[in-house]
Amino acid sequence: MVVFVVQSAVASRIPLLSGAVDLPLLFLAGWALQERVEAAWTWAIVAGIFAAFYSAMPPLVYLGGYLLVVFLARFVQRQVWQLPILAMFTVSFLGTILLHLLSFLVLSFSGSSLVLADVLTLITLPTLFLNFLLAIPIHSMMRDLAVWAFPLKELV
């Protein structure tokens, strides 16, 4: 809830061209990439519900997009990659692309006049840039939160 409040009241008011950092996506990706976290799917649904409450976008876009982000994060995390930063960048990149592609398709079908080139240059690329900027600090924050929330049993 706090993330959505910050996104709506602050992040969306600091655009780069027409793009803005996607804090819910980054927090969700950072959280889902933590090995100790098991309830990332639940958080994706919760985030999707909040997004549907805040945004005029059709609810299934955010719900589906966030579930895809968690799926991507889980997929990447189970692979051989042991570089969490690289995994975070990968999930941020693919998640942003997927979410924007989904938004573009749904809005185009619903009658909005969107030009793909404009969407790429004015929205998607600036959003990717801003998401990359905040990917590392948010991943670190989520890692600390996961360590705090789910301490290892031998350390308890």
């Binding site: 709506s8 969306s12 805040y54 945004s55 573009f104 006049s113 969107l114 004015l122 929205i123 959003t127």
Partner: protein, 279 residues
Amino acid sequence: MKNLFSRSAQTVILFFVIAGILALALGGYLNFASTGLNTALVAAQSWISVRFVAAQEFITLPRDSLTLRQENAQLAEEVSRLQAQVLQYQQQAGETKSLAALVNFSRSNPENAYTAASVIGRDPSPFLHYIIIDRGSADGLRRGMPVVTDQGLVGRVDAVISNAARVQLITDPASAVNVRLEKADRDVVVVGSVSGDLSLDLVAQDVTLEVGDILITSGLGGGYPADLIVGQILNVRKRDSDIFQKASIQPVVDFAALKIVLVATNFRPVDISPLLPVP
């Protein structure tokens, strides 16, 4: 006896010498000597004084430094407090100015009842141009009500909860506003875009579009009340090979700096969708 005379003579001579010096001094004949003496004396005193004061400051410096630091901290705190106060006053002055403009607008349009609302957020999706305001159904807001500022049309209410509402800006890609060209006296449609720019699309070639022409809502379609200023034509793209001509619109409202808006609460939008022919 000789010694006594000698002493008396010495005393007398000494007296005359002193008297002579005094007489010379009183007569002003020793000024050069007294000036030189005074100069040397003042110079010596200054030299000693400067060094004494320096030594005194050196000895008492820690105490003064502490005092100065405390005073400096107090003054810095005072400056910070006053700066915060100035910012607060500036913000209040800005809000008062905005509110005064809105009140003037409301008074100049007595046919409508307005509810003022603050902009508290924007749509999280960068694809959409919506704002969130802090007034809702409890304040009489309903879906479809037009939203304006003293400058012109902002958009219309898209969704309402009890104490907040979401407003679709006219810059949204899905927005279309029927407007009238003031000079040409023709009805056209202003559409938004993902970049937030407004444009006139599908304008017939025979319509005369002039840069600077004012666009006002026509009221057609029942979505918006008539005679609200939307913007003015910025440039026209007209090519003989095209069927339609296009124009970029400069909106009168600064959508990036929206803080307070007015919702026309007595306007009831007309839903004409059942009357539209189904393809």
